[in-house]
C-alpha cells in the first residue's frame, strides 16, 4: 500500500505534527475484527508470532499447528495457538450541528474537530487501518464506511475539508444509527460539544458499547463556555437556531455555572459507566497535545493490560 501523504487541499493537516504523532501507534483497547492482518489484537486466534495458548487436539485441526514436542514429552496431542493480528476500523463521528460553528478565539470548533479527525484518520491509514467518516447533524449528513487504502483516505479527507456545521444537533440519533450500521467491532471516535441531554447521551453510548465498539469521545468545550466570565449584559444568539437571550452575567452567571457543573458531572458518570475513552478538550489547547495524550493513553493502557 502506498504511503499516504497530505495534499495541499488538506490544510487542516500539519505534516510536522503528523510526523511527530506517527511514532505513537493508534491502538484499540479491545480486540478488533478486521478483514486483513494488521497490528491489532483480534478476539479470534490467528497466526501471529505471539503465543496465545495450548488446547487439546480435536479431529479436523490443522496438523501443522500440532506441537510435536509436547506430544514427545507427554504423549498427548496439543494444538499450539497464536494471537491473531488484524486491522482496525476507525469510525470518526464528527458533530456538524450549528453549535460547532462556535468560534473560540481564533479557531472554530468545527475546524478543531476537523484537525483532530483528519490527523487521526491519517495516522490510522498510515498503519494500515480502515477509516470511515460520519458527519452528524440532523441525521448523517455524510457517511463514508471504513475502508483501507490511500485513495479512500483521500476521499475521507476531502469530505472532511468540505464539512460545514449547520442545523440543530442530531448527535444522539446519529450515534444510535452508527451503532446499528457499523457491523463489526470498530473504534468509534466521537468529536462533539455534546450539548445534548445527558440521559439520551447515556443511551447512545450504552448502545455502542453493546455492539462491542471501542468508543472514544473528544468533548470540545471552550473556556468561556465553562467559566461564563462575561462582565456585562450580553445578547446571546443560538447557533442552532436564531433564538436570542439578553442575559446579565452578574445575575445569571452563577446559575449557568451550576448547570454546567451538574452537566459535566453527569457526563463523567455516563462515560465511566459506558467505559468510554473520554477526553474533555478545551479548544484553546493545541490539538496535537490532545492527540498525543489520547494516543499515549491508549498505547500505555494497552501495554499495561498485556
Amino acid at each position: 500500500m502506498a504511503e499516504p501523504s497530505p495534499s495541499s487541499s488538506h490544510d487542516f493537516l500539519d505534516p510536522e505534527i503528523l510526523g511527530r504523532l506517527s511514532t505513537i501507534p493508534l491502538d484499540a483497547r479491545r480486540g478488533m475484527i478486521g478483514s486483513v492482518s494488521g497490528r491489532h489484537r483480534s478476539p479470534v486466534k490467528g497466526s501471529s508470532l505471539e503465543f496465545a495458548q495450548y488446547r487439546k487436539y480435536v479431529p479436523g485441526d490443522d496438523l501443522r499447528r500440532m506441537d510435536w514436542r509436547a506430544w514427545g514429552r507427554s504423549d498427548r496431542y496439543y494444538i499450539k495457538e497464536f494471537e491473531a493480528d488484524t486491522n482496525l476500523r476507525l469510525c470518526l463521528v464528527v458533530d456538524t450541528s450549528g453549535s460547532m460553528n462556535y468560534q473560540a478565539g481564533a479557531i472554530v470548533k468545527l475546524d478543531y474537530a476537523r484537525r483532530l479527525a483528519g490527523t487521526l484518520a491519517f495516522l490510522a491509514a498510515r498503519q494500515g487501518d480502515a477509516v470511515g467518516l460520519y458527519c452528524a447533524a440532523e441525521g448523517f449528513q455524510k457517511e463514508i464506511p471504513p475502508k483501507r487504502g490511500g485513495a479512500h483516505l483521500k476521499v475521507v479527507l476531502d469530505e472532511m475539508a468540505g464539512m460545514k456545521a449547520s442545523g440543530t444537533t442530531g448527535l444522539v440519533a446519529a450515534l444510535h444509527e452508527a451503532a446499528e450500521k457499523i457491523k463489526s467491532r470498530a473504534l468509534v471516535v466521537i468529536i462533539s460539544d455534546l450539548f445534548v441531554e445527558p440521559e439520551t447521551l447515556n443511551e447512545a453510548f450504552q448502545h455502542l458499547r453493546f455492539r462491542k465498539h471501542d468508543v472514544a469521545v473528544f468533548h470540545l468545550l471552550e473556556e468561556r463556555e465553562i467559566k461564563f466570565d462575561f462582565d456585562r449584559p450580553t445578547r446571546f444568539v443560538d447557533l442552532e437556531g436564531n433564538a436570542a437571550l439578553v442575559v446579565d452575567p452578574s445575575l445569571a452567571g452563577r446559575r449557568y455555572r451550576d448547570a454546567m457543573r451538574r452537566y459535566l458531572d453527569e457526563v463523567a458518570v455516563i462515560v465511566r459507566d459506558a467505559a468510554v475513552d473520554y477526553h474533555q478538550v478545551v479548544v484553546e489547547e493545541k490539538y496535537d497535545e490532545v492527540l498525543a495524550r489520547f494516543l499515549l493513553g491508549r498505547h500505555t493502557g494497552l501495554k499495561t493490560r498485556r
Binding site: 465553562i226 467559566k227 461564563f228 446571546f236 444568539v237 442552532e240 437571550l245 452567571g253 452563577r254
Partner: protein
Amino acid sequence: MNFLQLGMLLALPLAAVPVIIHLIHQQRHRTVKWAAMMFLMDAKRMNHGIDQLRQILILAMRVLALLFLIFAVSRPLVSGWLGLAMGGAADTTLILLDRSASMEETDVASGLSKRETAVRRVADALEKGVRSERIVLIDSALLQPVEIQQPSDLANLPQTGPTATRANIPGLLQAAMDYAVAQKLGNAEIWLCSDLRTGDWQPDSGAWESLRASARELPNLRWRLLTFPDGSPDNLGVQVEAVRRRELPGNSGAELLLDLEVRRQGQGPATLPFGLVVNGVRTVSEIPLEGDRQKIRGVSVAVGRESSEGWGMVELPSDRNAMDDRAFFVFAPEAARRSVVVAESEKIAAPLLAALRARVEPGAAYESDFVALSKVAQVDWDAAMLVVWQAALPAADSLEAKHLNQFVQSGRTVLFFPPDGPDANRLFGISWEDWKTAAREEQQVAWWRTDAEILANTGDGKALPLGELKVKRFRAVSGDGLILARSADGAALVMRGDVARGSALFCGLSPDPGATSLAADGVAFFVLLHRALAKGVSAGARAQQWEAGPDALGDGTWERLGSAGEALGAERGLQAGAYRSGERFRALNRPAGEGDPERLDSAELATLLAGFDYRVIEGRAGEGGALANEIWRSLVILMGLALLAEAILCLPPAPDPAKRRFESAA
C-alpha cells in the same frame, strides 16, 4: 404643597432618563453567538423573576433619586404635617380663631399665649406656603367674617386680640359653613385654632348633628385643626359669684360680702394671697385652699358708709393665664325686688305672692303684686324684675305679647304656669298642650336637669325634691325650647325658651292645689320662684354682673372704671372690666365655664367631626415651628437613601464557588 422654585418642576421629565437609558442600553447589548444555550436558558429561566424584580427596583431607585433631587431643588414647602400639604392650594383660606379666655394661657419662656401662637403660625403658613387667593378670618367672639389682605396683618387685627369671652365652636363652624355656602366656595381650606375646651366645643349641643350633615354636603372644605391641648398645671382662676353690701351695726360703716370661686389645676400652695380692689383702694388678704375648686362665701371687705356704690376687682398672683387672674364686680344700692303675678284668680296667685314676698336675702326688699288678667295694662313693666303669668298666653300680635317680649329681651324672666282653660296660642316658640291626668300621683316628675338652669341642685349638691311632688294633672309643654324636666311618660314639664339675654320659663305643673302639690310642698316651688326672681334682679339691678360678650355693652354709653383704655366698636364688651353708664354699673367677666379645664380627647373630637375632612396639628403655646416648612433637606436624604439602595441592588453577587472550581481546574 407649594414650591419656592416652581419653575424647577419643569425638569420633572428628567426623572424618566434612567428608563430611557435602560431601554437604549438594552438595544446596544453586545451580541455573542453562543453554543451552550441549554445552560443559559436554564439559568435564565431560574433567574427570571428575581432578575426582573431587581432590574425594576434598580430603575425605580434611580428614578426616585432624580425625582427627589428635582423636588429638593424646587424647594417645596409643606405644612407641619406632610399629609396636610397633599391637598393642593385652596382658593380661599378661612381662619376660625377661638378667642376664648382659656386661649390666653401663656408659655412662660416665650411670653406667647396659645391665641398669639396660633395666629403667628397660621400667618407664617399663609405667608410662606399655603397661599390662597382669599383669606378670611372669623373669630369666636364676633362670628363675623373679615377678609384679610396680607397674612402679616393677622397679628395686628383687633379681631385676633384677647377676650374674656367663651367660644361657641359649633356656632363658629356654622358661621364658616354659612360663609362657604354664601360665597359658593369651591375649594377652601379652613384652619380652626382652638384649645379643645369642652365648654367651648359644647359636645352635647344639638347643633353638631346639622354641622355634620352640612360638612357632608360641602366636601370641598378641608378642615385643619391647630389644637393646643396641653393644660397649665399650676394655673389659678377666680370668679366673683355674688356681691352684697351690708351696713354694719352702729356707725362702724359697711362691708361688702363677696362669694368667690377659686379654681386651680394640679397642686398649688395651701394658702392663696389675693388682692382686693374696691373703688381703686387695694387691700391684700389670704385664703386657705383645698381641692381644685373651692367656693369661698362671704369674703368681707370693709367700705365706708358713704360708699354705697362702686366697683371692685379680685386679683390673684400672676400665673400662666392672666385672663382668669382677675374678676371684677360692681355694687350699688338695690332696688326693691319687685315681681308681678298675673293669674286667672287670686286663689291661684296667693301661694305665688306668698313665696315671692318672703325675704331671702337680708336687707333686700321683696314686693309682689297680683294683677288680674283683665288689668294687665296696669303692670309697671319697667319696675318689675319677674313676671309670673298664670293665664292663657296672649296672641302673638297683642300688646301683652309685645310687652312680655321686651321684658324678656331686657334680660329679665317671665315664668309661665298653665292656664285652667284651653289655650292654643304660642309665645316664644312654646305652647301648652291639653291638660293630662297623671296615671299616678307620685313620682310624676321623672327627670329634671340638675347640673344647671333653674332646677339645678342646691349649693351643697342636693337635688330639689321634685320627685316627691304629687301630681294629679299637668299640662305638657311643646315647642323649640330647652327641656328642663320631664314627666314619667316623657312629656316636657318645664321648658326654657331663649330670647336674647332673658329667659321665658314654662312650667306645666300648676300651683293650684287641685292639680299638684307644688305650692303645698313648697321647697321646689320656692326655689323655682326665687331663682327666677334672682335672675330678673340681676338683669334689672343698677349693679349687674355680666359675662363678657359682644352684646354686653350694647345698650348704652359705657365708661370703663379704673382704666383709661376702652375697646372700640364691635370689640366693646369682650374684655373683662367694670363699666358705668349713668346710674348703672356693669361688671364683665369671663363666663363661669371657661374655668373648667376639661378638654376633648381625640376620640371625642373624631365623634364630633365625623363627616368632616379634617386633620389635626397639635401645637403648644409659644411653639415657634412654622406650619409650613421647607423639606429639601429631607428630600436630599431620601435621594441619598435611594442611591444607596440602588448601589446595594447593583452589587455583584458573592463569589461563585463553581466559577472558582472551573478556574482552578483550568
